[in-house]
């Protein structure tokens, strides 16, 4: 008897993603990335707020792979870094849907928050 569950195909089962996986998914929305590229993109996307070490990075990658949200692609060399062969990752179809859903959720959140925020926070005179 296997206890492992089949990866869900329901976007709602994954949204909202925790911060680290969320930023990894958002980084992969830009295209394929290897580990260090992901780490760098996450920092850039979050203005340096989200920093992760190798353990957190690959722990999240492992989880996202198990959930079927990302997949490994063909390994290759990144000429901008060095001559080491690296594993690259990309979003799966369901991963792309989850990413889109997260972007929409965050956009709605910002929009509604802005409508309720005092004008001084939006550059007005209040």
């Amino acid at each position: 008897m296997a206890l492992k569950r089949k990866p869900s195909e329901e976007v709602g089962d994954f949204v909202p993603l925790p911060p680290a996986p969320l930023h990894i998914v958002l980084a992969l929305n830009r295209g394929e990335r290897h580990g260090y590229g992901l780490m760098s993109d996450v920092e850039e996307l979050s203005d340096g707020v989200i920093t992760m070490g190798p353990g957190t990075l690959y722990g999240s990658i492992k989880k996202l792979r198990a959930q079927g949200l990302i997949e490994e692609t063909e390994g290759r060399i990144d000429p901008e870094l060095d001559d080491q062969r690296r594993r690259y990752y990309r979003l799966t179809a369901i991963g792309q849907k989850v990413c889109d859903a997260e972007i929409q959720r965050l956009a709605n959140l910002v929009e509604r928050s802005r409508s309720a925020a005092p004008a001084r926070l939006l550059g007005g005179t209040a």
Binding site: D13, R33, E44, G53, G55, T56, K63, L81
Partner: protein
């Protein structure tokens, strides 16, 4: 596609720092290392090369913090059924059983008669739930080998076999204790499983799964706390001195001293304490039988032999002390 690394000055990672990081990766479960250790070392090297600005001190604090949190998370993930349960999972199971045993020790003296409603309505159903969880956590903890799973399941109920065998003549009562022990072990394991599920739910689990884990944790917490409260209440009842005036010179002072002696669990202390009394309430005949003062004076036979190292004997002595105390009071009042 290339990384958008905020590279500053570059510095090559020293072989020593790479070797040290490789060793630290032993903190992670084997299955995780096999899958990602090379990549992690590679990223660590990238960090030093592109972020350290020539100073390792800028990278290591970040790496240590990351190690502490992510290695713990991976170990717990392994415990809850991740790939490669294996030996580490077995040790964790042993720790869980020890934890559950501690719970039993703290709660075993709970007076189930006093807590009868709680016992029927909450304690036993929750223990049954714990039993089910026990099977689940055992299954998940011991990894992919069926034999290990079976052995792990049996391990939860080893006490149910060992305890009655080691308990001598009073095996009937101890079988009941052993069954409760097995159930409480299951409860402890179930509580840990609930924690693990909640911990993991931060990253992956569905709301329904989180809710069930939360409910299970609450039940486990209530049962454990209830058991401890029962034990504390029972302990309080047992530690109360006999009623009466315990001031020095009064008969109850001797009674209290004997009561305390009885609670040492050492029969020789009890007898020595009784025999030290100027006017002992209890007398011992040549056969080691205890008799109250009235029985002694009337020449009646005593009760249970006092060389039987059982709690019942101590309680018998206490009862006789109380009877004798009444007799003493009546004599003083007359």
């Amino acid at each position: 596609m290339t990384a958008t690394a905020p590279a500053s000055t570059t510095s090559e990672p020293t072989p020593r720092s790479l070797r040290m990081y490789e060793r630290l990766l032993l903190l992670y479960p084997r299955s995780f290392r096999q899958e990602y250790s090379d990549d992690m070392v590679q990223v660590f090297g990238d960090l030093i090369t592109h972020r350290a600005d020539g100073r390792l001190g800028r990278v290591w604090p970040r790496v240590f913090g990351d190690l502490a949190t992510s290695a713990t998370r991976q170990r717990i993930a392994q415990l809850s059924g991740g790939a490669g349960g294996g030996r580490a999972g077995g040790w964790i199971l042993v720790a869980l059983i020890a934890l559950a045993g501690l719970t039993l020790v703290m709660g075993s003296s709970a007076d189930l008669l006093i807590l009868f409603p709680v016992t029927v309505l909450l304690f036993l159903p929750a223990l049954g739930l714990g039993l089910i969880w026990s099977a689940t956590i055992t299954w998940r903890t011991t990894g992919a080998r069926p034999v290990a799973r079976v052995l792990g399941g049996i391990a939860c109920f080893v006490p149910a076999v060992v305890v009655p065998l080691a308990s001598g003549d009073d095996w009937g009562w101890w079988i009941g204790v052993a069954i409760v022990l097995g159930l409480i072990i299951g409860l402890g394991c179930g509580a840990i499983w609930g924690l693990v599920t909640l911990f993991q739910s931060r990253t992956s689990e569905t709301p329904a799964r989180r809710s069930w884990a939360a409910v299970g944790l609450v039940v486990a917490a209530v049962v454990v706390l209830g058991s401890m409260a029962g034990a504390g209440f029972n302990s309080y009842l047992n530690s109360r001195p006999p009623p009466g005036d315990h001031s020095p010179g009064n008969a109850s002072a001797q009674s209290r001293a004997l009561w305390d002696a009885a609670h040492t669990g050492d029969l020789t202390v009890v007898i020595a304490s009784i025999e030290a009394c100027a006017d002992p309430f209890v007398h011992f005949d040549d056969g080691g039988r205890a008799r109250s003062n009235a029985e002694f004076k009337a020449g009646q036979e005593g009760g249970e032999p006092v060389d039987e190292p059982m709690l019942g004997t101590y309680l018998e002595i206490i009862d006789r002390l109380l009877v004798a105390e009444d007799e003493w009071s009546q004599r003083c009042n007359s």
